[in-house]
């Protein structure tokens, strides 16, 4: 079975681009644009990988990690995506349980490599 990716991102433009990318790379793809949707999807579809945008309309993306942890539904790998390349936000992502923090826009080759690497480990 193909690994399942949940894209948590409020920009439909980015979601569309990622869908093209991941479907072509052989993944099953779901998307959520709010914390509420992400918690619901994360619990229902049990993704292997969650790509997490930190700035969402209903709050900080990292809150999803806590909610999924409480539901015992944390994905195997969560990769945070942020526009801020600062040590502080990086630290809070790793603290919350993210496997890595990627600076947007992540070059696609790098993104696919990271997902593969974390799924293999």
């Amino acid at each position: 079975m193909a690994p399942r990716i949940l894209i948590v991102e409020d920009s439909a433009l980015i979601v569309d681009a990622f869908k093209v990318l991941f479907v072509d790379a052989g993944y099953d793809v779901d998307a959520a644009s709010t914390i509420a949707e992400a918690v619901e999807a994360g619990t229902a579809v049990r993704p292997d990988v969650m790509l997490l945008d930190l700035t969402l309309p209903d709050g900080n993306g990292l809150d999803i990690m806590q909610a999924l942890k409480e539901r015992d539904s944390l994905p195997r790998v969560t990769l945070a995506m942020t526009g801020h390349n600062d040590a502080k936000s990086r630290h809070s992502c790793i603290e919350a349980g993210c496997a890595d923090v990627l600076l947007k826009p992540v070059p696609i080759a790098e993104l696919l490599r990271q997902i593969k690497r974390h799924l293999a480990s």
Binding site: S11, I14, A17, V20, D24, P105, I108
Partner: protein
């Protein structure tokens, strides 16, 4: 108290009241300007984030095409997609520069200091810019620095400053020119490192020495100017150097190249 003294006191008292009123009005104006400045900074921050998102989507789509994920491109298509990517990355760099400026302007930047070798960092930035320089047949060399002690500073921020200075040197030096990086020690005990980024480019007129370090300022600000940019690069560089308690300045003459200098204390004050 005579009549004329009473009048004088009354006049003085009135004058004091007027001055107090003026002072209050002045304070109100300052508060209002501060509030407007904060709004402007917030606006710049929001708009930069909002510009970044669709741009990230454009770049991702272009990379998908470039990497042949939707089928192999012919040479002309590949050229066109590479044009989209180059333009996209150029725009992204400009937006990131605005975001960095917003953070420096609103004091959102904190330094993360580590010990590192400045010459090594300079070599890294030099190598990153080698391809760009080669296109204009420019050489970038490091003249000295092997014996320089480690500095205790924020490596990423100093890298940003060096990249900005070297980027400018490449931009404003004509084909076949020379760019160099040199180090010296200053102060009675050599407690300050001075970094020089020099070039044989077109130079800067004396009356622009201060202007170029101001935000949004460009010596040629006309829409037809040959070098586009945000005009924030040197303003950011100055802020980042000053956060390290250093100074940045330029020495130059039109037609005779420019030498940019910045200083860093070897150990920060109070440590």
């Amino acid at each position: 108290m005579t009549m004329s003294e009473t009048d004088a006191w009354a006049a003085l008292s009135n004058r004091i009241k007027v001055l107090e009123q003026m002072s209050e009005e002045g304070q109100r104006t300052i508060d209002e300007l501060r509030a407007r400045d904060a709004l402007k900074t917030q606006f710049l921050s929001n708009i930069s984030h909002d510009l970044r998102t669709p741009l990230a989507a454009i770049i991702t789509h272009a990379e998908i095409l470039r990497d042949g994920m939707l089928g192999t491109l012919n040479a002309k298509q590949a050229d066109s997609v590479s044009g989209i990517l180059n333009g996209g990355h150029q725009l992204l760099d400009m937006i990131d520069e605005i975001l960095t400026y917003v953070r420096t302007a609103s004091d959102q930047i904190t330094l993360v200091r580590t010990e590192f070798s400045l010459p090594e960092l300079a070599d890294q930035v030099r190598l990153l810019n080698q391809a760009l320089a080669a296109r204009k047949h420019l050489t970038i060399e490091r003249l000295n620095g092997d014996d320089l002690p480690l500095v205790y500073a924020d490596r990423d921020k100093i890298k940003h400053v060096l990249a900005n200075l070297i980027g400018n040197a490449i931009k404003f030096t004509d084909d076949g020119g020379r760019i160099w990086i040199a180090f010296s020690r200053r102060g009675s005990n050599g407690e300050t490192v001075c970094v020089e980024v020099g070039d044989t480019g077109r130079g800067i007129a004396f009356n622009h020495f201060e202007l170029i370090f101001r935000e949004f300022a460009q010596v040629d600000a006309s829409p037809s100017r040959p070098h586009h940019g945000t005009g924030l690069g040197l303003a950011i560089a100055r802020k980042l150097v000053e956060l390290h308690s250093g100074h940045i300045w330029v020495e130059s003459e039109l037609g005779k190249g420019s030498r940019f200098f910045f200083t860093l204390p070897l150990q920060p004050a109070g440590d």
